[in-house]
Structure formats: structure tokens, C-alpha cells
Amino acid sequence: MKFTASWLREHLDTQAAVPAIAEALTALGLEVEDVADPAAALAPFRVARVIEATPHPNADRLRVCRVDAGDGEVQVVCGAPNARTGMKGVFAPAGSHIPGTGIDLKASAIRGVDSNGMLVSERELGLSDEHDGIIDEASLPALAEAPIGAPVAPLLGQDDAVFDVAITPDRPDCTGVRGIARDLAAAGLGRLKPLPETPVAGDFDCPIGLAIAEDTRDACPLFVGRLIRGVQNGPSPDWLQRRLTAVGLRPISVLVDITNLFTLDRARPLHVFDAARIGGGALTVRMARNGETLAALNDRSYTLAEGMTVIADADGAQSLGGIIGGEPTSVDETTTDVFLEAALFDPARTAATGRRLGILSDARYRFERGVDPDAVLAGAEAATRLILDLCGGSASRPVIAGAVPDWQRSVAWRPARTATLGGVDVPRDRQVAILQALGFTVEAGDGDRLSVAVPSWRPDIAGEADLVEEVLRVEGYDAIPATPLERMGTVSRPAVGPTQRTERRVRRTLAARGLDEAVTWSFLAAETAARFGQAEPGLTLVNPIASDLGVMRPAILPNLIDAARRNAARGLADVGLFEVGPAYRHAGADGQDTVAAGLRAGPGGPRHWDRAPRPADAFDAKADALAVLTAAGAPVANLQVTQDAPDWFHPGRSAVFRLGATVLARFGELHPAVLSALDAAGPMAGFEVFLNRVPQPKAAKAGARRPVLTLSPFQPVDRDFAFVVDEAVSADAVVRAARAADKRLIADVAVFDVFLGAALGEGRKSVALAVTLQPVDATLTEAEIDAVAQRIVANVAKQTGGTLRG
């Protein structure tokens, strides 16, 4: 919302300067986004007289001028052909910033003659391209009357600051200058001037029929019309054109400009029809018919649909209610009879129609926020008066369809709530005065509970909290004392629960393992999503910002692969990245997994004098996954590894960690076909851990207490075994079989060699185990050790068919 200081002063009797007004606006919640004060840039420029202009001794084209700018004589060297003795001009002393050239003026000597300022041209002031000479009485007649030393900005019409204020959607009243003036008056910035009473007695009955269709009363409860005959339409007077151009509006014709003026001045949109062009001489407000078209004033044609409100004549829709008028019935310089419309349109319908058709207009902006229902008639009267004043003619009596809707309501109010909700004590009288200044009527109530009648222009006020805000914002939020929150206990309790603690630990574990944390988009391309198992239609965005950000990600890995690709393209091939974040299975509240995913790609490090780099493989990914699972508190010893990872992994070099049917993690090398589909160069190894699937141990009764540690005083014994098994038998099966042979004595079983060779026979492999026996009660005898060894050999044979290698 833009307006000028002079426009504001039409409504507000104030001595306040522009900066004070700007500060007050922001403090009221009318946030000033910009104040363009042209006078500020022109402040150094003063009216001056050239006492004498003489030729420069060393330059033919230059003159040396003795200038009186109000505070003593100054010598200036001037190159303008029209610099002459006795003229009046505009002077800038040394030190001034010249807006048109961007130069900061310095005192200097020009061809040996001192020059302490400048007589300026219009171009140098940034006003026009005129640079044939300096400003004089010929180009600026106002100079003739102006006293020497006076600021030049007002003479140039450049003394009117333009405010640009962001109006929040709850304040339709402040979409007009008058509403803004009312707020400022309440805040003590001046006095709100009364609006002139302007009823215009009509000279005749309006011959134009007006009706609101029965089913359209909710959409348009009130329509006031008036015919003005014999008007003369043409360019607006200067003051009106200036007012509109100052806020960025293009003057069109006086009739149209008047409607725009009321829109901005009183938040009261109006429309004018050329009465001669109204088909059948009657207007009806009705719902649009499906497929009906409107040639609008913005030179575009719209196809209308049910639910839209139109003003129609015998030929069809002529205007889209509350949004935009139609071309065929519009006024132009030939218009002599004009039909003025002041109506009310329903905010929700106006917003929906405007959105559907993509029309932004000053009228829509106001109607969708809510136009003052009690000012329709007054607006029509005032506009009629202005039309008569500027265009002549004679007005009909108003024709009214519908009625002013019942807008009157009261809100129960306890002044004490300003302290208990707002946190600041404001004397009751002061609170009442504030509300009254804003147009509220405070009525008596019982005891501390008063009744406050809400003015017609404040649809946003619905309850007590709204009144607290009114008082606070006028009193100023600065008046609210900052009060510390009451502490809950002296030692603060942990803020995070187990899941957040896990996420944080996992992040820092992975970073400590050398992976960099990435944060990538939650959405990706549909085809990539499909490649990573996304088949849920409920996760495709209806209005994606780009097609490659169209579907909620089913996995994080594709984003990390893409990040690795982009880094490689920048010459950073050695990539280790992880992300802890959401992956989506469906749109329900429980369809979101928290996943820790990581990726290692590239050579595995720089070339080094001592150690050759090694690309990451499935075991690196497994180690990362295990570290995450451990950090997340998963029962790592009980996890099974099965080689049935999804198909974006290498089929032979990937696996999952599972607890029964629940897959906690998957890891391995990425499938080369998937990588090439993503334009990424492999190999890459990655993992995905579903943190929300990791079972959380129930809060132990003992709290942080650990089980008792029992240490054996006896030496552990190590024995090695090599078993020959079928190649298909997993090493894990052999280890488990060995371990199960004596759960009491066997403390550890480690694989220290795996060997495939022709000597073992086709399809056979050797798995070598180091078994650690930990005696509990006494040192083991050779016989006891042999007995355990035999049980190990027997159990491995039974469980896996393995034989001890000879």
C-alpha cells in the first residue's frame, strides 16, 4: 500500500515529520517497507542568485559566477551557456551529493580559478535529461518568487514523501489512506479530520434497472447505483494525476481516476459503466454461467464458471463482481452518461474467483479482505459529488438493490486482560481512550466485564484477545516489560527424547567416521523415485516447483548419489557423504521413516607415498551401517545378515541387517545400472539404516546402572580350526555353529582366513576360525580343551556339513 505524506495529511491533521510517521506506522503494525523522500536527496539544493557572471580568464566557454545562496557570497565556475548576471538558479555547495551524476561535489580550482559549488541542471538533479543549461526562471518559473536560500525541493514538487506500507491481511481498513490516518491519530500522531458530509440530492429517478438475483444475495448483499448524465470525461486535473502517479498508478480518465482514488483513499472500490452501452438498460448481479466469457479491462478475455459473481446486462456478463470491469461497457472520452457502482462482494468468493482466473486487482485485494459494509452509501455519495465537481452533469437519485448486511456486534472485554495476557499494565482510562480513538464504542457491562461495540470497518475483531492487541499496539509493544520465563526446577531437564538423542548420536558418529553431513531435498524426480521403489501415488506433488523435484523421496541414497556426481563433476571425486532425514512410504502420519544413509565413492583417498587408495566396497558400507546401528542402540549381536537387499544394490555385494522380519538396515555396493541411469560413475558403496525401526530398550529399572562385571582370573586359551564347507555356506553359519558348541566356555569366534582353491574340490571353500576359550572355574586341562574342540568340530559338521581341513 503506497501513499504520499500530503495525501495522508488530507485525513490527518499532524505536525509530525516523515521519519516520525514512519516509525509510528511500524510500531502500529503497519510495517513500513520503504519511505521514498525525494526532499531528502534534494536537501542541499537552494535557490540562489547570480550576482555577477564574468568570462573565465583562461577558458572561453566558462564563466566565473559570484553566487548568493543565502549565507554569503560564493564563487563558482560554470560552463552553462545561460549562466548570466542577475539570474536565479539552483545552487549546490561543495560537499553536496549530485543525484543525477552520482558525484560528490568538491571544492576545486578549474583552470586556475576556485570553484566552491555548482549551479545545476535538471539532469544533475535527476529530474530529467535536460542538460542544455542550468535551471533558471525560464525552466522553473517558481524561482522568481522564491526567496534566496530557500530549499528547492518544494518548488520542484519533490517534497512529498511516498510511504510503502505492508498491510497484513487482517486489516482491510488500512488498505485505504483514511484507515491508516485513523491508526496514526489513535497513536497520538495527530487528529483525524472529519470526512466532509457530501450527500447529493438526485435530480431524477435512475432509469437503469438494478437487481440482485435471489441466489446471489450472499455473494453480493448490497449494490448502490447512480446515473450521472451529461458528464464530460477527459484527463484528470493535475492534483488527481499527481496523486495517482506518485503511488505508481497510471491516470486514465477522470471518471476512472475517481474510482481509483476512492479505492486507495477509503478502501472503497467503485466501478463506472458507460450507461449508453448497458444492453437493455438494466443490470443484474447474478452467478456466472459456465463458459460465459468476459472481455475485461486489462485487454484479456476470461471464461467464467459457476460460483463467480458477475454484473450482467441483456448482452451477458459486463463485469466480474469485486474484481474487474468489462471492456464493452467501459467509459471513455465519448462517455456522457455514467452509471456508478458501489457494492459489497463476499470476501471468500472474491478470493476464490480471483485465484481461479489469476487476476490481481486493487478491487479484489480489498474485497477479499472485507470492505466496510456501512460505507457503501457514503462512498457512492462522495464519489458522485466528485464526479459532479470534476465532470459536471446531473445525478439521479440512488438506486439500491439488497440491503446493508447486519455487521453490528459486540465483544466482551475485561481491561485486566491487557496485563494478564499482554503482560503490561495500562490504566483503564487509557485503554478505553485507545479503543475509542480506533472507532470502538465501550459500553457499560457488569463489573469488570465490559461490552465493546466493533466498528464496521474492523471485521478482524472477534474476541477479547483482539482488543488486547489493539490496546498493546497503540500503546506500543516496547512498553511490554520482558519477563523471564518461570524456571521449572533449578537443574534443567533433558530436552530431547530417545529418538532425537539417537539421531544426534548417529550424525556425530558418521561425521567422526569421516563422512560429511549433507542436507538434500525431500523430493526428487519421479523416475528416480520409481527406481528406488516409490510406487505410492499419494506422494506425487500436485504442484511441484520443478519436474525433478516432483515426488517425495522413497530413499536418501539417490540424492547422495546425485551429490557425488555433482562433486565429481567439480573434480572432487573422493566423496563420503551422509544424511539423517526423512524417507517417505505413504502420505499418512506414520508413513515417514527416519533414515540414516551414507555413501562412499571415488578412489578412496589421494595417492599417497605409503598407502595406495582403495575404493570403498560393501564391507566399508557394512562397517558404517554397523556403527550407526550400534550408535542407535540396536542389539547388534543378535542381528542376522541376509543377502536380499533391494535391486538398486549390486545383487551379489549387498545385504540387509534384520531382526526376524524387520529390516533395520541395508548396505552394499550400488548397482552399476542404477548408477549409470543417474549419470554417476561407480563404484559406490552405501547404506541405509531405518532408525525408527531400531527397537528401543525399555527403560531399565536400574536406570544407568550396568550389570555386574565378572572377570575370570584364568588365562584364556586360543585354538584355531579350518573347516571345508560348501561355497554356498555362509561364514556366519560356520561361526554360529562353532559358537553354539559350548556357550559357557567359548568367549569369541573370529574368522581369520577364507580360502577357495582347486585343492579343496569344486564348489568348496575353507573357513579358518580362531576360537577363544575362557575358563570360568579353573584352568582348563588338555583333555578339557580337546573335548571342547571335538564338540566344535561335531557341531560345525552337523550344522553346516563342514569337515576339519586335513
Binding site: G29, Y477, D516, L541, R570
Partner: protein, 358 residues
């Protein structure tokens, strides 16, 4: 008996003359070995009478001990000399670089969230969470955004297909639906913060379609707007580590708070660079207000008894200001050079007692 003194000189002389460990061993065997000179003399003791045997035995034993001691002494010397020689041969060039390690880094967004949570934890807030995919009720309606209200257009919403029951599904446009989920599932007093991902359909120099917010919510019977101010002033000063940081509360509008405020912090923009502090200019950082009675009622909380405040703040912007990160879009590019430069070492865990990140 031979002249033991001469023998002693001879044997010890041989030990001391040994130039390396094998030579020393030869000298030891020659004296003390099974066929050594002293061993041989020991064997002759049996031929002597008792008194002579006793005396000769003593002398021989003394000689044996002396030679053994000399061997031991010589051994230390020779072993030390050998070790010195070996170590000299083992010299390496320690100007060579170490084996490569890759230090990982924590993303500034995670670090900022951890910092913010650490500060709010000091004020008694717990962390709450909610899903990114929300229904219209949680994201708008329960937050007092009526259907068709222009305030909905303040937020460029991403839509998903309607749910089977007809509910309109969206990507949450703010973390405020976590307020609703918390108030529906917990009874007051409530004091939570909710950091998380949020989404708006906007992509330019200063907007990304995904960004992060942290929501705050306090509901009890007495918390008023002064507490909101106190809480945010303390937070901002702790987070930006500026003790006299001024905050400015301006009236504003959010459907779910009444009264509502936007909050600016002090800054300077001299030289095109934003500096946080008491420098006379202002920079908006968050929106807040007292929870709207309609929101409390939508969650089944008696608005005549309970009240409180809520705030919502971006994560990226404060992070940019605090750590001097110039471009929002770079947060999501996963550029390794950027992550290394702006990221945090994993052990730098924000904590009020041990200091936030500095």
C-alpha cells in the same frame, strides 16, 4: 692350583676385549662353559683334601662370579651399541605427510538446531516432532486459517493428492502443525520446541522450496506476552552471543496468534554486510504471539483457563547470520568444499555449560 690372579686377568681381559655379542659369548663359554677354564678347575677340587678344597672352592667361586659379572657388564655395553646401530639404520624422513584421514563434518543446519535446542532446554523446553506430509486440518484449519482466507496465500503451499477420506494433503508450510499435534496429545502445562523441515513453493536468491524452522509453544495458566519477550530476548542474546543485543517487537498478523508480533534484532548493514549487534538498524528474524483462543479450542484446551505463546523461526537465516554464510541455496548443494568450510567437527557438541559453538 694355578695362579688364579693371572687366570682372572686373562679371562676378564678376554671378556672385555669381546667386540660383539658372539665374541662375548665365546669368551663366556671359554671361561664358564662346560669345558671352560673355570669349570675345568672346579673338576680338580675333588683331588684336594678337605681344608684345601674349601679354600680353593671359595677362590674359584669368587673368580667365577667376577667373570660372570664382567660378562653381564660387557653384554649391556655391546647390546646398547647394537641397538644404537640398528636404530640409526631405521631413521625415516618425518617431513613426509601422514597417512590420509578424512575428517567428516556436521552440517550447519544440524549444528544450529543443536545450539537452539541447547538454549531452549535451559529454559525448560522439550523437543517435539511431527510429519512433513500434513493434512489441511493440522497445517491450516486448526491453526485458525479458515478455508479461502487470504492468509493461506501468504504461504505458497505444495499440495499432494487428497487423502482417501477427502482431506487435502500438503507439505507442511511451517512447523506450527507440531503445536497442534502436541496440544491434542498432551495436557498443559506445555513447553516445547519443534525443529524440522518445512516447504513452500518458492525458489530464488533468498528462498528454497525446502527450508527449516523451529517452533516454540508454551501453554499454561499464566504465561503472558512479557514472558514471550523475556524468552526470546534471552534466546537471541545467547544464540548470537551478543549480551546487549536489542530486540524490537512489532505488531503483526498470524491467524494462529493474537496478539501477534514480528521480532527484529539489532544489526548494521554498513558496507553491504549484515552485522548483528546494537548498531541501530533492524533485521526481522521471527514471528510470534499469544496462542489464539480458537487454536486452543480446536485442540480441546479450555481457552478461558489456559493461555500461552508460540513462535516460529527459520533455521537457515540465523545460521547464515551467525556463521557468515552468504547464500541460502548453498545449504542444499552438498558441495564438499562448502561442507568442509562451513561444517562443524563432530565433537563440537553445543551445550550451554561447555559453551555453544563459537
Amino acid at each position: 692350583m694355578e695362579d688364579l690372579a693371572a687366570l682372572r686377568d686373562e679371562l676378564i681381559g678376554a671378556v672385555e676385549a669381546a667386540g660383539d655379542l658372539p665374541a662375548l659369548d665365546q669368551a663366556r663359554v671359554a671361561a664358564l662353559g662346560r669345558k671352560g677354564r673355570i669349570t675345568d678347575l672346579m673338576k680338580t677340587l675333588g683331588t684336594l683334601d678337605a681344608e684345601a678344597r674349601r679354600r680353593a672352592g671359595q677362590e674359584l667361586n669368587a673368580l667365577k662370579d667376577a667373570v660372570a659379572a664382567a660378562v653381564e657388564q660387557r653384554q649391556v655395553v655391546l647390546a646398547g651399541r647394537d641397538l644404537d646401530r640398528r636404530l640409526a639404520a631405521e631413521r625415516v624422513d618425518l617431513t613426509l605427510p601422514v597417512r590420509p584421514e578424512r575428517p567428516g563434518r556436521i552440517h550447519p543446519i544440524s549444528q544450529t538446531i543443536d545450539e537452539m535446542v541447547a538454549i531452549f532446554a535451559e529454559m525448560g523446553f522439550a523437543v517435539a516432532e511431527g510429519p512433513d506430509v500434513e493434512d489441511d486440518w493440522h497445517n491450516f484449519e486448526a491453526l485458525n486459517f479458515p478455508p479461502g482466507h487470504p492468509a493461506r496465500e501468504m504461504q505458497d503451499t505444495f499440495y499432494l493428492p487428497d487423502r482417501a477420506d477427502g482431506a487435502r494433503m500438503v507439505l507442511r508450510t511451517h512447523t506450527s502443525p507440531v503445536q497442534i499435534r502436541t496440544m491434542v496429545s498432551q495436557k498443559p502445562p506445555i513447553r516445547i520446541v519443534a525443529p524440522g523441515r518445512t516447504y513452500r513453493s518458492d525458489y530464488d536468491m533468498t528462498h528454497t522450496p525446502m527450508f527449516h524452522q523451529i517452533e516454540g509453544l508454551v501453554v499454561d495458566e499464566t504465561t503472558h506476552m512479557g514472558h514471550l519477550k523475556g524468552c526470546l530476548v534471552e534466546f537471541a542474546r545467547a544464540f548470537f552471543q551478543v549480551d546487549d543485543l536489542p530486540l524490537r517487537f512489532r505488531p503483526s498478523f498470524f491467524p494462529f496468534t493474537e496478539p501477534s508480533a514480528e521480532v527484529d534484532i539489532g544489526c548494521s548493514r554498513a558496507g553491504g554486510e549484515i552485522k548483528i549487534g546494537n548498531h541501530g538498524d533492524w533485521l526481522e528474524i521471527l514471528g510470534c504471539g499469544m496462542v489464539h483462543p480458537n487454536v486452543l479450542e480446536a485442540c480441546g484446551i479450555d481457552s478461558t483457563r489456559y493461555q500461552g505463546f508460540a513462535f516460529g523461526m527459520g533455521i537457515e537465516r540465523p545460521a547464515m547470520l551467525k556463521y557468515g554464510i552468504p547464500d541460502l541455496r548453498t545449504f542444499f548443494e552438498s558441495d564438499l568444499r562448502w561442507l568442509k568450510h562451513y561444517g562443524f567437527v563432530p565433537l563440537d557438541i553445543p551445550n550451554v555449560a561447555f559453551g555453544l559453538t563459537s
